[in-house]
């Protein structure tokens, strides 16, 4: 532990600490089913860790309340998700903005694509974002790991919904 800060220091360069992440999951359901689930507020609420509520205001707008922990900062976030480039059942883009009061904020853009793969669906996503305020001050170097953990958590819960059906 004694050299922890030093180890961390190596990862801090002059550049920004933008979150960039992508991933692919194979979901055992038909593409149309996956698409509908991705647009279902109840499904989303059940799959997001720490999610208290998801409200679907329209096909293009979701609001969510989430409690999340990033390093030493645990806080309640209000998230708004704007859906654009909606191309059912193949792809959409999400503009995500989360506000955590005095703890900071985050914002990002995600692109999600669904491809048919026999009886299953290949879901690919790519996310770019950044954080501000205390989240950046205290937790920015943890954000990649936290983002990965959150995405993996979401998609593993999401995939499990169909684990027994095929």
């Amino acid at each position: 532990m004694e050299d922890y800060a030093r180890v961390v220091d190596r990862f801090v360069g002059f550049g920004g600490r933008t979150l960039e992440q992508s991933g692919q999951y194979r979901i055992l359901a038909a593409r149309a089913v996956v698409w509908d689930a991705l647009n279902d507020a109840d499904v989303l609420a059940a799959c997001i860790e720490g999610c208290e509520s998801v409200t679907k205001l329209s096909d293009h707008r979701f609001d969510a309340n989430i409690t999340a922990k990033l390093g030493p900062v645990k806080t309640k976030f209000k998230a708004t998700i704007e859906v654009s480039d909606r191309n059912p059942p193949e792809s959409y883009s999400l503009e995500v903005s989360v506000k955590g009061g005095m703890q900071g904020f985050g914002k990002g853009r995600a692109e999600v694509e669904l491809a048919e793969d026999q009886n299953a669906t290949l879901l690919s996503y790519r996310v770019e974002g950044n954080v501000g305020g205390k989240l950046a001050q205290m937790g920015s170097r943890l954000i990649t790991a936290a983002g990965r953990k959150m995405a993996d958590g979401f998609f593993s819960r999401f995939s499990e919904r169909w684990a027994d059906t095929i």
Binding site: A5, D9, G15, M102, A136, Q137
Partner: protein, 782 residues
Amino acid sequence: MTSETGIGASVKRKEDARFITGAGHYTDDINQPGQLYAVFVRSMYPRAEIRSIDVSSALAMEGVMAAYTGADLAADGIGDLPCGWMVKSKDGSDMIQPPHPPVAVSVVNYVGEPYAMVVAETLQAARDGAEAVTADFNEIPAVVDLASAHGADQIHEAVPGNQCYDWELGDREATDAAFASADHVTSLDIVNNRLIPNAMEPRAAVGMYEAATGNYTLYTTSQNPHLARLVLAAFVNVAAESKLRVIAPDVGGGFGSKIFVYAEETAVIWAAGKLARAIKWRADRSESFLADAHGRDHRTRAELALNADGTFVGLRVKTVANMGAYLSLFASSVPTYLYGTLLAGQYRTPAIYVEVQSVFTNTAPVDAYRGAGRPEATYVVERLVETAARELGKDPADIRRLNFIQPEDFPYETPVALTYDTGDYDASLKKAIELIGYDDFAERKASSEANGKKRGIGFSCYIEACGLAPSQVAISLGAGVGLFESAEVRVDVTGSVSVMTGCHSHGQGHETTFAQIVSDKLGIPFENVDVVHGDTGRSDYGLGTYGSRSLVVGGSAIVKATDKVIAKSRKIAAHMLESTEENVDFEEGTFSVTDSNQSITFPEVAFSAYVPGNYPLDELEPGLSEKAFYDPENFTYPAGAHICEVEVDPETGKVEIVNFVAVDDFGEIINPMIVAGQVHGGLAQGIGQALLEHGIYDESGQLVTGSYMDYTMPRADDMPNFVVDTTVTPCTHNPLGAKGCGEAGAIGSTAAVMNALTDALGVVDVPMPATPETVWRAMEGE
């Protein structure tokens, strides 16, 4: 009196008894009946327009007494936080000072800038209230990168191109001519990394207001309470000076960051008046990172012109200095009069020209931090000199000796506006070379190589200018305050003494050093001298403690006041001894008639002054208390030689400092143990800059080194066992012959480390901080 407690004795610090037993009395230890708590709501955006702020939900919460915005302060006539030094550009125009409201009104310009304050009955209620303040911001892309800030998107309406000023010093033509005819030019591009001060005690304030009298009292973590009072009264319009008492009790470190008047204490004392209640605020560590003034942050192109034999013929320096988002109290002076003036170093370089552009960015304000301009200057000069020596195949010690200003050259007028009074630079270098065993270095290097390690040695022969002075010169160059110091030596009826000083101790040990001076001069027990500081209600005036000034300026004022006490005492003694002043000697606390056995002690004289039975009331006023103001004739010029030896592990890039020698000429020394302690602390900070510390904003303007998880502070196991020693050439123009020692360690050491590291690696430069990754990349040629 060459006693165990007099001048020159390593007396243990008086103040340590309370500090190390937890009995210190810091601002956060002060509590008042009915005290409220303030919490500031801070911008999480680097740059944004404030569309609206809504405090109604906060006000509705239980325990919340008030919630203020910048508009509330402005409506009450609270003024901007000023900058106290007017620097002029090359073309003669004044620097541009953008508006700096204590609490943001219409825009926020750095992460951490306060835009609202919530005051509540408990700290928790204030925090909850702050959480309930909502604001609508229109984010604007921030200007963050120093290299491209000049001419980037304009931050302040009043500041075209984000340039505060474009300053120059020295003779451009003569310097260019020297370069044109030189045999060799050494050039370096240097980044002086941003540092975050990290005083052990975070900033704090307790504001009090007494409605019946209209008196305000502010307890605050200040290095200069009189200056805080002046700014709060004259510029910020909180209250008349006479109605405002500022007390800086025990303060746990400052390093410059507590010189400045900040938003928080300003808002706290104002709100105390509004609510007629005591209000406390104390920064948490996260706030300190965001909102204490940062240090350094320069980008420099530096060139040294030499003759083939190694003689320096010209120095040309161009620097861009980061001011952050606003001008802090002395920000403008740091990269100019405290930097450009020091570029002659210890050398007879005949032609020097420096230009400095200071620019604004959407980052925390940058101001003086231990050394303030002089570490940056030393880094430029000493990195250049070492690099030039390597390029010309000269020994780094020899090239310095060849160019040193010699003892017979003093007083020496530099091409950059200073006149050095005295020094013997080779004496310090010689001693340092002996102490480090320079002659045996090759053997140690070979031995390291045998163990798979790379070893290097680096020199740094620094000079600094302390005790910023004289007032008239500084004022003519733009200073907004005098730079003298006051003292009062008040002798009690029984002969004990209180010394009131305008300097402030926040780790320097003034209570000990100043008591040594007075007890030595008056011949009374050290224990009988009490030093009082940090209270505008108890000492007349003062400029506080910064720039290694306390002993040389404040101590000299104390000597002057003590001499006045002795002069009056001698008159009283002459009367009591039925002799004349001329025939009364004073030695070791006793007045005696020359060539007789008649004598009287200092306490007896003091008693007579207050119980004037046998006393010349027709000639002298009763009482024994004298005041003095001391305005220095010149800066003092501490100088020295630091030599560092490092060992690098080529597998990991880890740098170990295996040997560090600092030989400093501080002039006469009052307490060698305190001096050594000051040097050790300074060295740790200078080495911290070289190897560990870095304040980093990401490209969007977020501070990503905002906690101890990411900002690496030096620790004991990062430091070698320092070898520190001194040489002495007494200052020629103050009564103590002293030069000041508070900053030297931080000024000299950084270049020594980086010179050693570049020597070990055989590269021209490594950016600071030289973390293992940076070093490893340098070894890989990246």
